[in-house]
């Protein structure tokens, strides 16, 4: 039979790549998570994770840091995105660009710069590890919040806001009943961009707290460098599960909002 060129064959290399370098490595993690150093099946790593107060503390601390970072970034970034998207303040795309530009500078370099400045004003990692880490995290993730929020705010239904004003809403009500519900998809995707990466961040907490603040990413790295691969794999697997759960939640949210839109467009 003669070989006939079909366009779908072009996907074959990518498909092989996906299987080899994305699916296979995850299988390795699963394998290591449930075996001991001799390769026998065991739940050691699971039991160890859930009984070690140290590791549970790390989990709690990472959740707290992630939550706080998400909330603070949203509180700072939400007004900025709103102001920038609002033509009344004749802000333009150049300022948005300025907010995004730090993302293009190597982030280890940026973290080092933050560390230097914090040390200069007396907030070094040795004396204020938590505060320094928090500042570094906010500084790093703020652009990731502003961009998705800005994109959603550009599409806000202006006539709905005006209608709310005409129908007698005060400013607060306009915000809570019209602007905020419309921007929920942006808020969710911004939170997604911050929450999980904060939990698994390694460099920022390591550099800014001089190794005193241990987040999930640091824990994985520590376990790996101490050649406790089985424990490290289980923690990674746990992280993977958290990511999957948060993905499902956010997907639920965005789907709801799109169906809402469809329903409202019917009317």
């Amino acid at each position: 039979m003669k070989f006939r060129f079909q366009r779908k064959f072009l996907a074959i290399p990518y498909f092989i790549f996906l299987i080899l370098f994305i699916v296979l490595p995850i299988l390795f993690i699963i394998y290591y998570a449930f075996t001991d150093s001799n390769g026998f099946f065991t739940f050691d790593a699971v039991v160890d994770f859930f009984t070690s107060t140290n590791k549970l503390n790390v989990l709690l601390l990472s959740l707290m840091f992630a939550m706080l970072n998400t909330i603070i970034c949203l509180v700072i970034g939400y007004p900025i995105a709103y102001i920038l998207s609002n033509t009344k303040f004749n802000a333009n795309a150049v300022i948005v660009m300025l907010f995004v530009m730090p993302m293009w500078i190597n982030f280890v370099l940026r973290t080092w710069a933050t560390r230097d400045v914090l040390t200069w004003i007396g907030l070094d990692g040795g004396t204020h590890p938590y505060l320094a880490t928090m500042i570094g995290l906010i500084y790093n993730y703020l652009p990731f919040v502003i961009l998705p929020l800005y994109n959603v705010m550009l599409k806000l239904d202006k006539s709905q806001i005006e209608a709310a004003m005409d129908l007698g809403c005060n400013r607060l009500q306009v915000f809570t009943k019209s602007i905020f519900p419309q921007s929920i998809p942006g808020v969710v995707s911004a939170a997604m961009m911050v929450f999980m990466p904060t939990m698994s961040s390694y460099v920022i907490s390591d550099v800014l707290s001089e190794g005193q603040v241990v987040l999930f990413g640091n824990l994985i790295y520590l376990n790996f460098s101490n050649s406790q691969w089985n424990y490290g794999s289980f923690i990674s697997l746990f992280m993977l599960a958290l990511v999957a759960i948060s993905m499902l939640i956010s997907r639920n949210f965005t789907e709801k909002s799109t169906t809402n839109k469809k329903e409202s467009s019917k009317w």
Binding site: F28, I83, A93, M97, M247
Partner: protein, 312 residues
Amino acid sequence: MVKKILAKSYVYLILILMYIPIFVLIVFSFTNSDSVGIWNGFSLELYSRLFRNEEIMIAVGNTIIIALISAICSTILGTLGAIGVFYSKRRTKALVENLNQIPVVNAEIVMALSLTFMFVFCGSYIFKDNIFSFWTILFGHMVLETPFVYLNVKPKLIQMDPSLYEAALDLGCSPRKAMYKVMLPQIAPGVLSGFMLALTLSLDDFIVTAFLSGPGLLSGAGKIQTISTFIQNSIKKKIVPPELRALTTIIFLVVVIATILVIFYQKRQNNRSSARFLTKEQIKIRNIKRLIIGGISLIILITVISLLIAFI
């Protein structure tokens, strides 16, 4: 009016706060003190020391080489993948899209760890040798970048006019030629933005390089260092060379120039639809403008590249 001023000052305040660390480094790159906060008078010593510091120059060279090669490879792979998947059956499409989503949402450190396990396994059971080298970094970076290239190309394929491709076939093009001449120009903006994104992801990466690094490339026998891993290592060793402040200035300048070019490019894209009916004069002026901008950017690019080459 008051509201407007308040809003604006808030935006600018946050903007200034965001740039303070970088600006402090830039200001203190023009003096020769060892740490930020001590001003020893104006000097360009750090800059000359930067270009004579072999370790930093090697790290910069490694970063650029890895970024370019991995971005090119993942752009080709991702673009071909996106085209192929676009014309596949629905089930294959759904499968690839879901697999493609894994590295996008997955924590980088988990991905790096899983790849490390696999490469260690391959090294000990298949190759019987330590396989950590430039190639493991390359594959690691490609895992990081290719899904994003795919996601950038996909919307352009959906927007594409399918009848153009068929028309090309009817008019006697071979499928391959139709692909080159008709399909590729239509998805080119997506491919370009995918490439740019891949480049930035690679330049920014720390964890994948730290996990998968081995001997090779410019560093010879030692582990390959990129800018990220070099800075992290020197912070760990508590001796951060002050020359890095000069490097920050240079990187910042490059980023600013790139941003300006991107803004110009976007403006031109926006103008293109409205600029179809121009008089000859206007076209002449536009061409001259383009020539000047292109020339200036070319000169800057060449100087940056030649500086790099000269000092590596």
